[in-house]
């Protein structure tokens, strides 16, 4: 079932630069049969404050690259702040919010922000802002606001729910 095959992907490449000769050999391992899994991800910490937010992103991206399915990414506690459209990190740093938005666009990811956690932290989409008489909204592209039921559903529907938190 899980036999690994060794193959040399690209031919051996010889590059001559000046006096030194660099030999680049590409090895790659791949499974004969790949079992893909359906994951859900829970992000419980805010961006920049805590590594959990970065780790969740790296995990999600890696899983997608390996061909796994991400059923949903759910943002809870301070994790809801990962969805703020108004985030402005220094230019030489990663842009955590935009990174999620781009990944969502690429892979049609379902990024869900908990409505209860979001409201008490001042995170509102257009509808919620209107409903509460607020003069602004701040949910970034690719995120949607919904209820905690979406987290429970993610636990039921996926094979693994991976929690990133403190």
């Amino acid at each position: 079932m899980n036999r690994y095959q060794l193959s040399i992907n690209a031919p051996v490449v010889l590059t001559q630069t000046g006096a030194s000769i660099t030999v680049i050999i590409h090895f790659s391992f791949f499974k004969g049969e790949v079992h893909t899994m359906k994951f859900a991800v829970l992000v419980n910490e805010g961006p920049y404050q805590h590594q959990a937010s970065d780790s969740a992103y790296q995990f999600t991206r890696a899983a997608l690259e390996k061909g796994h399915e991400i059923f949903r990414v759910f943002f809870y506690h301070d994790g809801v702040n990962n969805a703020s459209r108004l985030t402005v990190p220094p230019q030489d740093d990663r842009h955590i919010v935009n990174r999620w938005s781009e990944l969502a666009k690429q892979h049609n990811l379902d990024l869900v922000v908990c409505i209860a956690a979001a409201q008490r932290r001042g995170m509102l989409d257009e509808n919620e802002a209107k409903r509460h008489g607020k003069d602004a909204n701040n949910i970034a592209e690719g995120f949607r606001i919904s209820g905690l039921g979406q987290l429970i559903e993610a636990g039921i529907q996926s094979e693994r729910l991976v929690v990133f938190g403190d």
Binding site: Y76, A116, A117, L148, I152, G155, E159, L161, V163, G165
Partner: protein
């Protein structure tokens, strides 16, 4: 198994933090209450400072305490939501000089091995 109606999974809520120092305990409780509507097989475990969440006599009002809403009564209402399996880590209780007499609700006390076994049995572990 997925996409079927009436799937029942084993959900464990792992409560590890003191009730008012951070919002984890309160928001964990909110997940438990919403989750109850999904009729899953739910257990709650309290370990480390999480055991303080169940402590009797919490006084948090403006006049007597820190000016935060006391949500400890909610643990007593869990029974009404069919959330009846509450577990407390033995060592965590003892280290804090607590016994089950100090707690608001009836719990089952588990040692390390039993707690590990409880976690092992679960489909979903939500750690707060």
């Amino acid at each position: 198994m997925e996409d079927e109606e009436g799937v029942v999974k084993k959900f464990l809520y792992l409560n590890r933090k003191a009730p008012y120092g951070s919002i984890y305990a309160l928001e964990s409780l909110e997940v438990v209450l919403i989750g109850a509507a999904f009729e899953q097989d739910v257990s709650l475990a309290f370990i480390d400072d999480g055991v303080y969440q169940l402590k009797k006599g919490q006084q948090t009002s403006v006049s007597t305490g820190i000016g935060v809403k006391d949500f400890s009564k909610t643990y007593r209402a869990l029974e009404g939501y069919d959330v009846e399996k509450l577990y407390v880590d033995k060592k965590s209780l003892e280290e804090r000089g607590l016994s089950t007499n100090d707690l608001l609700v009836d719990v089952e006390v588990l040692d390390d091995a039993q707690m590990a076994e409880l976690m092992e049995q679960q489909d979903v572990v939500l750690s707060f």
